[in-house]
Symmetry: C2
Subunit: 274 residues, 2 copies
């Protein structure tokens, strides 16, 4: 999927919502545990209830791999289910990978060949040759960490050089030359919405994946106001605020309501700021 | 395993060698492919041939996860085999993980509970709360990226502030307060051996995991000369130079010879520099 196709979906669905599938067997409704693949069954019901309100799903790989082989099986069932039933969806592997070239090549194979993701989140610390293997796949994306939503973002991402450039700005400046607006986007936490104006000066045309709305406290309105560009340029993620809004038998119905609320708010912002 | 126990092993085996298990089905000898688990069978024979010459094994997780469920099964068989037959071995998951707190918690579960690794390599970009969940496990280690062995290390790791501190130095300065010399070590590439004196000024007592000797061109002598401390403080990794030294039926025998060569060189340096 390229940037134009992604924007098409955003216009069609009037939504730039990404739903994070941070699925934890301990947190899902108890009645699902009798299924052969409870994590997949939870995801399936969430997806069927919410697919009309979102343009992307983002399985958080840590939650699957911590379950071992069972977890990877649930992930496979989930991505296959989305591909078959909702082929318009942009699929993000939230994996925060990145290693020397020959190893990043293997990580790219994992998410783009063994699994059928459109994109994978990557950490920038190891530089260009840790990113490039992911960029060799047509229509696939690297989503590079720039400014994250957690408190630890302050430890290194604001490290500042003699020209007053911060590390996250350096990451944007340097890495934007490695790919294009059709194969690179950046993670910018919603808890850092005040920084979006600054970020848009450096990457006006790139898509941004914005986590941290909801459970982590970020404001959707501010993100839209300061982050939206002429082709939207935003994917805003909500995980816990949607999938765990209700932990009983009506979890999927409640997830649909929460997604719809966000979609309607996004529709308004697309009208106002686009 | 704590630092004293690790040093004990180094003295017993007269070696600070770590062998990287970057096992790729395309590169292993063809006669192994008839096995049910060729990747495990390759590892098993390598391990049996080399365990006397090394103190650590480091499966490179990318190589396993790119194979999907089969790969994770091979990894499980490998770690179980090492635990059962060579309980003295320090086991490193080379995974380069790191995410917000609740997600890093899951990655820690993967490698310390679902699998029985002693340590996992972690990327520092997301800061303290991305590291701490790994430090909650007694006798387990975080191996944090500081200065890596690849060409891309130059992109961000040398980013310099007004006090002339480079990013990798900032990572050392800040992160060394998060753990102890018994649960944190650092990745410092052998291709950066000239930087080891500088690094030892900041972290004199921490263990360093040093990749890049062999295929990547780093010098073992320089690493020992500039990096060794009073309790050795080094684990030097070799992957391709050992496991793919011979791609025929005598691969394990050749791996043993290559490991022994490195062990003998290390024995000399332990005598000279310790």
């Amino acid at each position: 999927m390229n940037a134009t196709q992604l924007f098409d979906q955003i216009q069609k669905k009037k939504s730039f919502l990404c739903i994070g599938l941070d699925t934890d067997p301990v947190k899902i409704p108890k009645h699902l545990l009798k299924n052969e693949h409870p994590v997949f069954e939870f995801n399936r019901q969430i997806i069927d209830a919410t697919a009309r309100y979102c343009v992307a799903y983002k399985p958080n790989i840590a939650f699957y791999e911590s379950l071992g082989i069972t977890g990877w099986k649930s992930l496979e069932l989930t991505t296959d289910y989305i591909r078959k039933n909702y082929p318009e969806i942009f699929l993000i592997a939230d994996a925060k990978r990145g290693d020397i070239g020959n190893t990043s090549k293997k990580y790219a194979e994992t998410f783009f060949k063994t699994y059928s993701f459109d994109s994978v989140t990557v950490a920038p610390y190891m530089g260009r040759d840790s990113i490039e293997p992911f960029l060799q796949y047509p229509d696939k994306w690297v989503i590079l960490l720039a400014l994250t939503s957690n408190i630890g973002a302050e430890d290194f991402q604001f490290f500042t050089d003699t020209k007053k450039t911060k590390l996250f700005q350096q990451v944007l400046n340097v890495s934007k030359k490695w790919g294009t607006t059709d194969n690179m986007m950046y993670v910018v936490g919603a808890t850092q919405a005040s920084m979006l104006t600054l970020i848009r000066e450096q990457v006006p045309d790139h898509f941004l994946l914005v986590p941290g709305v909801g459970a982590q406290g970020g404001s959707l309105k501010e993100v839209a106001q300061y982050g939206m560009n002429t082709t939207c340029g935003l994917l805003v993620n909500s995980s816990r605020g949607i999938i765990y809004a209700d932990t009983g038998e009506s979890f999927a119905k409640t997830a649909a309501l929460k997604s719809k609320e966000l979609q309607l708010e996004m529709e308004e912002y697309l009208h106002t700021y686009l």
